[in-house]
Amino acid sequence: MNVKESQRTDAEPAAQDGGGGPRMTHDISGPPRLLTAGTGAAVALCLAVALAHVLLVFLHVAPPNAISKAYSRQIDAWVRPVFEQNWRLFAPNPQWVNRQISARTKRTAPDGTTRVSGWIDLTVRDNSAVKHNVFPSHTAQNMLRQAWNAYLKTHGGNDEPRSHRAVMIEKYLRNIAADRVAAQRGGTFDSIQLRVITQPIPAPRAAGGFRPAAAASTRAETRYLPWWKVSSHGTD
């Protein structure tokens, strides 16, 4: 700052001499006023952007509140998509169910008769790919799991897609299943159906104070999705 101040005082007569024009002949003296002002402005801008960014990210990750509701448009405009984040890692509660997703396929012969295949367990494949693997692939840990989570988010309990996003997720889930069935068993098929069995993880065994009453909630739930047409599969 000392240096800068002395530079500024040096620069003042220089700027007056030069009339503010680009002709700067005072080589040994400090930087021209314009440059100093520009640097100062840039420094202030950097600082302001950094602080604003931190504030906006905070409002983005914090639970909805009066401020973030009032400025949600501005916050989204700045944060999305690149700075989007969600740190609810296993929170507020960890996932307490295991899901087993299976698929079966249907083929309609030219004479109109249909043949339905047996169920193929897609999840068991993922589980075995993870088992005894130091470095499991995202394809095993995340692909089907996240696709199903996204489906639940866009569809809820209803299998009728109600938004453009829901249609996209449905296609994604269908493609995953069709690709996997085709890779696993081959054969031709023109539609596919998914079955999702949701198995709650039982509460810890009654050792020292835990209630054993959770047995009622450990019953598995089975959900059948509608048959989906598959166009691109079954040629090989």
Binding site: G38, V43, V57, V82, W87, V134, P136, T139, A203
Partner: protein, 376 residues
């Protein structure tokens, strides 16, 4: 002391002879502090070693990630993915993401992109033309993340943020090929630049100030980001019943997809008390994280977090996620720690291979005299 004595004297009608110097002194002190802050902000790039560690850490992690998923690359990011290029492009229209990977559906284009991504990660990690590489690295990470948006977990999310923030930092000043080049140039007696006087010199000064400010702001944002991460992860857990009654880890240990070693998970799951203690400790450490950073307490907390993430990596089969978190934690270690690590590293390199050390000292901060000037 002085301040508390002078404070109750506001400045009423009597001639404030004694208070005026105090007020001046106080405002002087405030000015000095502002001055010191401005000097730090504009002249001293903070935590250059930590920035270098971030560069090496995330460059390496993404390189390892891309290599690991190499057999699955088409399924995740390629034209043959179930999340088809058409679906990805539709999503971009809605979400605002962009990706270079969807510019063409050609398989060859995708393979070229993959190769470029691998090379980018490697060069970024080595610190070759770091600023340009950091931009390219951010483009790569954002592109791959956006293309497979439904495959990402928290670790991928963090890497996107860090890749973008690193563009603004001077992360190539230490432990990099760039640093090695400047060192060699300096020892060869070449003083680059600084030749043209006058305006050019001044522009150069302004550029250095701006680079320093950008770096410091970038490091500040990174630090704040990590605090938000832990604060959020902790505070949302506090709201959960399962974290509250100490059984959360039991459920986590029983999720099939995050149980690569079922025997190990079962063994841990058998210890109810241990599970409750570790669960509480996790929440406590995460919530406390932003508050302990300014004291000595940060070292035990960082060690606890390191232990936690190593455990997550092994027990849950999430090495990339854990690696991303560990690298983020290491931002808070001071430069003297990294210098000590550097010295230790050099000493072991020198001890293990006397002559081989010279060849491998490319990225390590090698002793200057051991490197003769190449072609100058």
């Amino acid at each position: 002391m002085e301040r508390t004595e002078q404070a109750p004297v506001p400045a009423p009608t009597p001639p404030p002879r004694t208070t005026e110097p105090a007020a001046v002194r106080m405002s002087q002190r405030v000015l000095d502090q502002v001055h010191a802050f401005l000097v730090l902000l504009t002249e001293r790039p903070v935590s250059l070693y930590a920035a270098a560690m971030l560069r090496i850490g995330y460059g390496l992690l993404y390189l390892v990630f891309l290599l690991r998923e190499f057999p699955h690359r088409d399924e995740i990011w390629g034209p043959g993915s179930p999340w088809t290029p058409a679906l990805a492009r539709q999503m971009f229209d809605q979400s605002g993401w962009v990706s270079v990977l969807t510019l063409s559906d050609s398989r060859v284009y995708f393979e070229v992109c993959y190769a470029v991504a691998l090379v980018t990660c490697a060069l970024f990690l080595l610190g070759w033309r770091t600023r340009a590489m950091s931009v390219l690295f951010a483009v790569v990470v954002v592109s791959f993340h956006a293309r497979a948006i439904f495959m990402a977990d928290g670790g991928d999310n963090l890497m996107v943020l860090m890749a973008v923030y690193l563009v603004f930092t001077a992360c190539g000043r230490r432990w990099s090929l760039d640093a090695r080049r400047t060192r060699l140039q300096a020892s060869a007696g070449k003083t680059a630049g600084r030749l043209g006087g006058g305006l050019r010199h001044q522009l150069d000064d302004a550029r250095i100030i701006l680079i320093t400010v950008l770096h410091n702001c970038g490091m500040f944002v990174i630090a704040a980001q990590v605090c938000f991460l832990y604060g959020c992860a902790g505070l949302y857990k506090v709201q959960g019943v399962k974290w509250g009654d100490g059984t959360a880890l039991h459920y986590i240990l029983n999720i099939d997809l995050f149980r690569p070693w079922p025997e190990l998970s079962q063994m841990i799951d058998g210890h109810h008390v241990l599970i409750a203690v570790v669960g509480y400790l996790t929440v406590l450490v995460q919530v406390a994280f932003p508050f302990v950073l300014f004291g000595r307490l940060k070292y035990p907390v960082l060690v606890l977090l390191l232990g936690m993430h190593v455990n997550i990596a092994v027990v849950m089969g999430l090495p990339i996620f854990s690696g991303a978190m560990i690298v983020a934690d290491a931002v808070f270690l001071p430069d003297r720690f990294y210098r000590a690590v550097g010295r230790l590293w050099r000493r072991t390199v020198q001890r293990t291979g006397g002559t081989a050390a010279g060849a491998s000292s490319g990225t390590a901060p090698a002793a200057v005299p051991s490197q003769p000037r190449p072609a100058s």
